[in-house]
């Protein structure tokens, strides 16, 4: 699946997007955050406060317990500050 990062999450991860293949045991958004956090210091830094992180699956906001099965694109970003 494709993963995108925005704002300071993008800066901390060090890339805007990538394709990942998490193991089948990773079922939800929060499990994906935990799995990514274990991949490197950069991810651990980006996701150090997982409750602050917002997520979207296929362009729609989701909660942290949302299932990631079938997702084409998952995005992680801080709370929005537009307008």
């Amino acid at each position: 699946m494709k993963v995108k990062y925005f704002a300071w999450v993008r800066e901390r991860v060090g890339k805007a997007e990538e394709t990942i293949e998490p193991p089948a045991s990773v079922r939800t958004v929060e499990e994906l955050i935990a799995w990514l956090s274990g991949q490197s210091e950069a991810y651990a830094y980006a996701f150090e406060k997982p409750k602050v992180i917002r997520a979207a699956i296929d362009h729609a906001h989701v909660k942290s317990d949302a299932a990631i099965a079938g997702a084409r694109e998952i995005a992680f970003f801080p709370p929005m500050t537009g307008g």
């Binding site: 929005m80 500050t81 537009g82 307008g83």
Partner: protein
């Protein structure tokens, strides 16, 4: 009732008078147009701002705005909606966002414009980075914006 919706995310500036004219031209059913413009300020509370950079999530930003214009149209009798959000780097005084709502009467237009702005601030995927005298940093979300959006939730 027909309600044309225009949603644009662009780097270029917008011309408010032109956008209102596009919304109202050749129509006689519109009695009220509310216009809200968001403008880059020179200070955020006490900190001075030299410039602001707006980042967005292409694709989702348009879809998220569309979900909220759809909801606004279902809640108020609107005759036209325009939302333009700029991205890029802005100096104080420059336009950032425009919301236009048209209706037969002013109440629906006022309320729908406020509803759309409250949700643009808390739910549309845009992020602001400030350049100030002491450095550069991402703007933090304000609880007051979440509270402003929460009052539109249907109980």
């Amino acid at each position: 009732m027909t309600c044309p919706v225009t949603i644009r995310i662009q780097e270029d500036d917008f011309d408010i008078a032109r956008e209102i004219a596009l919304l109202t031209e050749s129509r006689t059913d519109i009695g009220a147009v509310v216009s809200f413009s968001g403008i880059c300020r020179a200070d955020d509370d006490s900190a001075k701002i030299a410039a602001l950079t707006l980042e967005h999530y292409p694709g989702m930003a348009e879809e998220e705005i569309r979900r909220h214009t759809d909801e606004a149209i279902s809640r108020w009798p609107l005759n036209g909606v325009t939302v333009i959000h700029r991205v890029g780097r802005f100096m104080p005084g420059q336009n950032i966002v425009l919301v236009l709502t048209a209706s037969q009467h002013r109440q629906a237009a006022f309320q729908a414009a406020e509803f759309l702005m409250d949700y643009l601030k808390t739910s549309a995927p845009f992020w602001k980075k400030e350049e100030g005298a002491t450095g550069t940093g991402w703007v933090e979300a304000h609880a007051r914006d979440d509270e402003a959006a929460a009052r539109w939730k249907k109980s």
